[in-house]
Subunit: 335 residues, 2 copies
Amino acid sequence: MTAMNELVVLAERPTTIIEPQTCRLETAPIPEIADGEALVQVGWLSIDPTIRTWMDDAPGYLPPIGIGDVVRSGGIGTIIESKSDRYRVGDTVFGTVGWQRYAVAGEGQAGMTVVPEGVDPLLAINVLGVTGLTAYFGLLEVGNLRPGDTVVVSGAAGATGSTVGQIAKASGAGTVIGLAGTDEKCALLVDELGYDVAINYRTDDVRAALKAAAPKGVDLYFDNVGGELLDIVLAQLALKGRIVLCGGISSYTTPGRPSGPSNYLNLITRRGRMEGFIILDYAKRYGEAQGALLTWVLEGKLKHREHLVHGLEHAPEALNLLFTGGNTGKVVVVV
Amino acid sequence: MTAMNELVVLAERPTTIIEPQTCRLETAPIPEIADGEALVQVGWLSIDPTIRTWMDDAPGYLPPIGIGDVVRSGGIGTIIESKSDRYRVGDTVFGTVGWQRYAVAGEGQAGMTVVPEGVDPLLAINVLGVTGLTAYFGLLEVGNLRPGDTVVVSGAAGATGSTVGQIAKASGAGTVIGLAGTDEKCALLVDELGYDVAINYRTDDVRAALKAAAPKGVDLYFDNVGGELLDIVLAQLALKGRIVLCGGISSYTTPGRPSGPSNYLNLITRRGRMEGFIILDYAKRYGEAQGALLTWVLEGKLKHREHLVHGLEHAPEALNLLFTGGNTGKVVVVV
C-alpha cells in the first residue's frame, strides 16, 4: 500500500465559528516534486486567527481560500525529499504548508525558511515565527513604544498578546496591563508573564479597573480583539496615544459588519493614532527581530507557551479555540 | 448714555443643533482693562464646528463653555484702548474674542496675535487663520501628502475642505475628489476650486462614484464629517492609506455616541492609519504655514470664500449653518 497525503479542505464558507460541515478530510496521492522543489512532511501547524478571515469570501491581504482547497496555514515540517539546492533532506522548514501531511516547498517567493539546527520547532513556530514577529514589529515599530509608556494589550493570554506584554516589559514600558477572559489567564499574566495588572473583561468593570491602573491614560493599546474593549480604551487614551490594530477577533465569527469604535473621535481630542499592519510587510527584517526575540528567550525575559492539539483532523476545532477563549498561549496542531 | 458690551452667552446645553433657548443675548458694562491688557472692539467672528463641541458637557481638548458664560469663539477686532506694550491702539488682532462686542486682550498665553497691516481681515480669519492652518498641517503633516496621491475631502465646500483641496493641488497631489451636499457646491468645487471630481453625497451613489474616480483606491482622506462616508472611504482605502481626522460634523448635533466606522479593520488589511490632530499643537509653526498660504493666495492658487452673516445676535444661527449644510466657504459673523 502506498502512503497517501491527507488534507483538510474548505468544504463551505463558515458564517460564525467553524462547524462540522465547514471542513472535510480528504486523501490524495503524495505530491510529486519538480526540479527546484522539495517535499515536506508536516509536523506542526500554526493556528492563527487570520486563517478564519481567509475562509470568508471577502477581499483581504491574501485571496480567500477556495472551496475545495486545502486550508491555508503556517506550519513546520521536515524535508524528506529534495530536488532543490536550497533544501537538504533532514532540514526543518517553516512556511505556508497548509492543513495537510505533505506539502511542497518551492523556491523564491513560494519558498520556506530553513530553521537553524538546534532551534526547538515549537520556539520556531511561536516566538520566532509569525506570532513573535507580529508582537515585535507591532509593538515597537507600529506602536513606537517609548520608555515609561502605559501599555494595554487585549487577548493578552493569547499567543501574540502574551508575547507583546513581555516584549513591552523587556523594552522599558511602564505599566503593562493585560485584558483576558478568565481568572486563570489573569493570574498567569501577572504571575508568570510579567504583566503588572490583569483585568478580567468578562467579570471586572473594565472602565473602572483601567482608570485605576492607568490614571494618566493609555499610551499604547495593542488590540487583538476590537469590539467594546476598543471603545473603552479610546475613551481613556492618553495624549498622543497609539492604537496598534493587530486583529479584531471579537468580530471574525460574527456575520455582517462589526460595530465600529464609536469613540473614534477621541483620536482628535487626544491627537491619537490608530494604525494597522500586516507582518508580511516586514519580511526583510525578520532576521533582526528573531535575533532580539531569541536573546530575550535565552535571558529568561520571554517565555513561550503552546496549547497543543493532537491530530491533523482536529485542526478545525483547534482554530475555534481562538474564538471561544479556550486556549492559553499559542495553539499548535501536532500533525 | 454709556456704551455697553453685548454678549451671547450659553443659556443651556443643546442636544442637537442650536435652538432659540440655547443662547441668550445679554448686556454688561464694557470691561475695564488692567495693566498689560488692551480692549478689543470685535469686528468679525470665526464660526467653526468645534464651537458646537464646546457647548457639550463632555471632556475635550478645551473645557466645556460654562452655562452663563460668553460663547467661546475665535474672531478679529481692533484695539481701541491699551495698557500693554504689545498692542497699540488701531492694531488689528486675531484671537479668542468670544461672541461679544468688546473683549480683553491679555499678554502671554491669553494674548492675541496682531495681524500685519495691509492684510484683509477676512483673509486673516479664514485662509491665514485657524481654517487655513488646519488645512495646511492636517493635509501636509498629519496626512503626509505625497506627490501623485489620490486625495478625498469630505465637507469639501466648507471652509476647511475648500482650502484642503486647493493646497493638495498646489502641492502635487494626483486626483483630488470632493464630497459635498448640493450640485451647486459640487460645481463650485470643480469650476473654481480646482477639484478634479466632485461627488454629491446626497444624490450620487458614492461607492460607485468613488470607485470610478479613484480606481486604485484612496491614498489620503481628509475627513471633516465622519459617519457613513468614512466607512465608504475605509472600504476603498489604498495600501498605506492615511485618514486625517479633522472633525465628525455629522455626529456633533446628534445626541449620544455616534456609530463608529465599522470598516475600521480595513486599516489592517490595507496597512492604513487614522490619526487625529488639534491645530493648537502646531502653534510654533503658524508663521511658516501662513507664509506658504499667503504665497499661494498671491499666486492665485488658493481662493477664499466667506459666507457672511450680519449681526452679533445671529451668531447662533450662523453656527447652525455648518450642520445643515447651509454655507459655502467660511462662515463669518460681521459683528
